[in-house]
Structures are given as structure tokens and as C-alpha cells.
Amino acid sequence: MSGINLLQSKIEVVNIGLPLFAEALAVQDIPVVQVDWTPPAGGDERLIELLDLLSE
């Protein structure tokens, strides 16, 4: 058993990154939300690790 039930579901997408992928889904009426992504914590790797520890 794969445990994966995605194939039996209707696709709804969160797009993190290039807007062209969200645009392609929107024209097909596939539900999609674009995230306005920028590097977390100003791209500071140590700060990102700390943030992740806190959020867990």
C-alpha cells in the first residue's frame, strides 16, 4: 500500500515560486493560490534554522 491518496483527489495547488505555473493552472480553472515568496529571514541560514526550531 502506498498510502498516497492524491491520485483519487481533485487537485488544488499552492504555488510557491514562479508565477507562470499558477497562471497556467488558473486558465484551466484549477484552484490555485500564489504565495508571494521571498527568502525567509533575509536568507540568513542560521536565523532560518532558529526560526524552524521555534516553529516546531
Binding site: L6, L7, I16, Q28, V33, V35, D36
Partner: protein, 495 residues
């Protein structure tokens, strides 16, 4: 580079997505006296790309992943400085926010999920240094992942795939650009009809070619699952391929399953074949460049993408009767491909006919470039051709220079090209090449093309074919047919 001037400028704390940056870079590159221009976020992989292109200065080398590097190579200091000014103006222009339709755009994953509570998939295309973090967070919230980002460390890929297995989620990628789930084309994919064939592919254009050939010949796709170019490597061990086989094996809408990849190692291939053998469904194994090996009884080996489509359609023969009336020639074949796996398939066909080929992305048996071999089959989507530029599937003008050179080269008898249609791809690649040819005077090589797409694609397959034919280009029914026709034109003395 003697006499050329390289200038770098850093903008701290500036982020813009890579496609937007590529568009602006091209704008700057078009100005007089500019040899090359590239704007990239200062991740280690981008800095090494800039360095290998001779575009990184000491100053640019100090940039971090939160900085933008503006890199210019100019003919003179004045031209380079002028281009830096132009780049600055372009970056300061007001822009529409990503996906801006006038509504609010969430900046965080949790806000996005609050807007779309039934979300079950995250498509991730942020710089590779940050991609794994986003995927981890998405999976913890129950989302499956399709990761287009590349340059993700292999240990992170293994960890993500282990997390996905634990959570019962599908982790497609890194470096996965194409998938079709439940009839929904994701990333670069085509509007293929639904049907009983499932695909598991480590190659984006391989998935597109096989799914569109099936779709154009009366078949259909249940799901086409991308696994990422490295999934069948020794390190990753086929984790997503095996999960995808499990999922398609259980899927009542899938009768037959096609596996597409470069050849994996013997150990990984054996692991995959052992899993295949436990299924009651029929498998088509298309590991391009691999010799037919001992397969389980429920599997057929397909040496080409076309053969894979033919087997998946129940053993039909596709594109019979295609016969371009082209004279034989002693000259060279130049293949200029947008699709990496289409380039690989063409190489496999040349090699099977006993003809040596060289490529920047050689399959087993082909040679790297620079060995003086006559026939060149190039993957123009590879990093060395796309530094700071969009992929040729998105922007066909990036292969213009190579095509122009081939058109005026008297040693080139045949120019072999592919056109990849579908969502995410350029809206009129055939019109682009027709326009390029209209501006060419004098003799030119024979041009043989194939079009990867279906009628329901935004570009409309039959219209693209008609545009090419009107421009005097031979259009083969598949990439394999085009390569075979090119092979048949080369006189035996060249073989």
C-alpha cells in the same frame, strides 16, 4: 575575454523570481556594447554559474542568497557602466506582484492554505537553497509536493522523500518540471485526454513526448508522475519511482504503466524490476540508452519514447507512411533540441544505426563535444546554454543564435529541431521559427522538426504543424521519426 570589461553590482535584500530576472537581463543584453548581462540571486550555485561564464567579479563573489547580483560584460567600461544603469532602472520599474489579479497575495504558506483549505499540492520553484525547507513545511501541512527547483543537495532530496513516504505523500522532484495528476497538467505538461495509461518519468520532455504521442493516437493518460532527474541515482535509490509505481498499481483507473528515465545503475534497475514483477499490470520500460535487459514477464523494453508510446497503446505502429522526399547527403546533421530527453532519444537512434554522435549531454555510447565528430545533437536547455536566460521551451529566441549559425553553415545538411507545446511553454514556437526563416536569404539545410503536443494544448498542435510546413519545414510524426529520417539521409560513408 581580452579587452572586455566585467562589472558586478550587488543589491542587498532584493528578491525577484528567476523568470522575471531573465526577462530583464535579456532587455539589458540587447543594448549596444553589451556582450552578456545576467541578474541572479547570489546563491552558491548561481555564483558558480556566473563564474564559469566569466561574469563574476570579486565584488559579486561577496553576494549572499539574499542579494541580487547584476553582472555585465561589456565591450568597454562605458558600455558596462551604462548597462548597470539600465539594469538599475529596469529593476526599479513598478511591477505587478506575482500573480496579481488585484486581490491580496499571501506571503506565507499558512495564509495560502487558509485561502484554499482543500489544497493538496504545493508546486515549489524557489531557489534550490530554500526549496527543501518549503517542501518540508508543505508536507507537514499535508500537501503533496512537485518541486521544479534544482540545485537541491542530494541528502535533502533523500530526507524529503523519506518524509513523504512516512506521511503517505507524493514528493515529485527536485528538478521535476512536468506531471499530470487526475487530468490536471502541472508545470510543463500537455492537455492530454484521460485514459488507462499511467506514466512514471524522471524526465520532463520524456513524459511530454510519450503522453502526447499516446494522446494524439486515441489513447489517454490516467496520471503522469514526475520523479525528478536524480530519483533513479544510487543515492536516491528510486524512492519516488517506487512510491509512484505503488500508487499507480493501486489506482483502478490505470491499466498499464510506462517508466521513463536515463539508464539507472544495475542495482537500482534490479530494485525497480523486482517491484514491477509483483504487479498484475503491464509495464513498459523506457530507460533511454540502456540495452534491453532481462525484464519481468509483465514488462516490455522500449528503446525510444515512440516505442514506449506504441507499447502503451497495445503494440500499434505510430506514424507509418511518413516519408519526406529528401535527397541523401554526405554532410552533417545538427540537432538543436529544447527537450533534453528528445535529444537523448535522437542520440539513441543514431547510435542504434551505427552512427557516431557528439553531444553536450551524451547518452551512453555517444561522445562529448570537441571530438571532431561530424554529427552534433545538442540539448540547448542545458545549463551551459541557459545561463541567466529562460529555457528554450519558454523563450524560443534563446536558440536563435545556434539556428542561425546552422542555417549558414554549408557543412550542415540537416537541421533537426523539436517544438515542445503545452502549458508553461511559449505560445507560438512554430511562428517564432517561421519568422526566423523568413529573415534568412540564400540556401539552407533541410529542416526536420517534430512537435510535442496535442490539439487541446493552448498552442493547438495542428496549427503549429501547419505553420512549420508552410515555412518549408518537414514535420515528422514524432521526434524518433525525425531522427530516423535524418539518419536515413546520411550516406553510409559518413556512418
Amino acid at each position: 575575454m581580452t579587452g572586455h570589461v566585467v562589472r558586478n553590482q550587488i543589491r542587498s535584500g532584493f528578491y525577484l523570481d528567476s523568470v522575471a530576472l531573465m526577462r530583464l537581463s535579456r532587455e539589458v543584453e540587447d543594448s549596444p556594447g553589451v556582450i552578456a548581462a545576467s541578474m541572479m540571486i547570489g546563491t552558491p550555485s548561481n555564483k558558480s554559474l556566473l563564474e564559469s561564464a566569466g561574469l563574476l567579479s570579486v565584488e559579486g563573489g561577496k553576494a549572499g542568497p539574499n542579494d541580487l547580483i547584476i553582472a555585465i560584460r561589456g565591450e568597454t567600461a562605458e558600455a558596462a557602466d551604462g548597462a548597470l544603469g539600465l539594469a538599475g532602472e529596469a529593476l526599479d520599474r513598478p511591477r505587478q506582484s506575482s500573480g496579481d489579479d488585484g486581490g491580496w497575495i499571501p506571503r506565507a504558506l499558512d495564509s495560502a492554505i487558509a485561502m484554499l483549505p482543500a489544497a493538496n499540492m504545493a508546486i515549489i520553484s524557489v531557489p534550490g537553497a530554500f526549496a527543501a525547507r518549503e517542501a518540508r513545511r508543505a508536507m507537514r501541512r499535508g500537501l503533496n509536493v512537485m518541486m521544479f527547483s534544482d540545485n537541491v543537495p542530494v541528502d535533502q532530496e533523500c530526507a524529503l522523500k523519506a518524509q513523504a513516504a512516512e506521511l503517505g505523500l507524493l514528493m515529485m522532484g527536485p528538478d521535476c518540471g512536468s506531471a499530470i495528476i487526475g487530468g490536471a497538467p502541472l508545470g510543463f505538461a500537455n492537455a492530454v485526454p484521460r485514459g488507462p495509461v499511467g506514466i512514471v518519468a524522471a524526465s520532463g520532455t520524456g513524459l511530454q513526448e510519450v503522453s502526447t504521442l499516446i494522446g494524439r493516437h486515441g489513447g489517454g493518460i490516467s496520471h503522469a508522475i514526475g520523479v525528478g532527474g536524480r530519483d533513479l541515482s544510487q543515492a536516491v535509490g528510486g524512492a519516488t519511482t517506487l512510491a509512484a509505481i505503488d500508487a499507480l498499481d493501486e489506482d483502478p483507473g490505470t491499466d498499464r504503466i510506462v517508466l521513463i528515465s536515463k539508464p539507472p545503475s544495475v542495482e537500482i534497475a534490479q530494485r525497480i524490476f523486482a517491484r514491477v514483477a509483483t504487479s498484475s499490470k503491464h509495464f513498459t520500460i523506457c530507460f533511454i540508452g540502456m540495452d534491453a535487459s532481462e525484464l519481468p514477464g509483465n514488462a516490455t523494453f522500449a528503446p525510444t519514447l515512440r516505442a514506449a508510446a506504441e507499447d502503451a497503446l497495445g503494440g500499434v505502429s505510430l506514424g507509418t507512411g511518413f516519408d519526406a522526399d529528401i535527397p541523401r547527403s554526405h554532410n552533417r546533421v545538427m540537432g538543436l533540441f529544447a527537450g533534453g530527453t528528445l535529444c537523448a532519444e535522437a542520440q539513441a537512434i543514431f547510435l542504434a544505426a551505427g552512427i557516431e554522435v557528439a553531444s553536450n549531454a551524451p547518452v551512453p555510447g555517444a561522445s562529448p563535444l570537441g571530438h571532431g565528430l561530424a554529427h552534433h545533437l545538442l540539448d540547448l536547455g542545458a545549463d551551459e546554454y541557459t545561463l541567466g536566460r529562460p529555457h528554450p521551451m519558454i523563450d524560443p529566441t534563446v536558440r536563435h543564435r545556434s539556428i542561425r549559425e546552422a542555417l549558414v553553415d554549408p557543412g550542415v545538411a540537416v537541421l533537426l529541431i523539436d517544438m515542445v507545446l503545452g502549458y508553461g511553454a511559449h505560445d507560438d514556437p512554430a511562428g517564432d521559427i517561421a519568422g526566423l526563416l523568413a529573415g534568412h536569404d540564400g540556401p539552407r539545410p533541410v529542416i526536420l522538426a517534430s512537435v510535442c503536443g496535442v490539439e487541446a494544448d493552448p498552442q493547438i498542435y495542428p496549427e503549429q504543424v501547419a505553420t512549420l510546413e508552410k515555412a518549408g519545414i518537414w514535420v515528422a510524426p514524432s521526434n524518433a521519426h525525425a531522427a530516423e529520417r535524418a539518419v536515413s539521409m546520411i550516406a553510409p560513408s559518413d556512418a
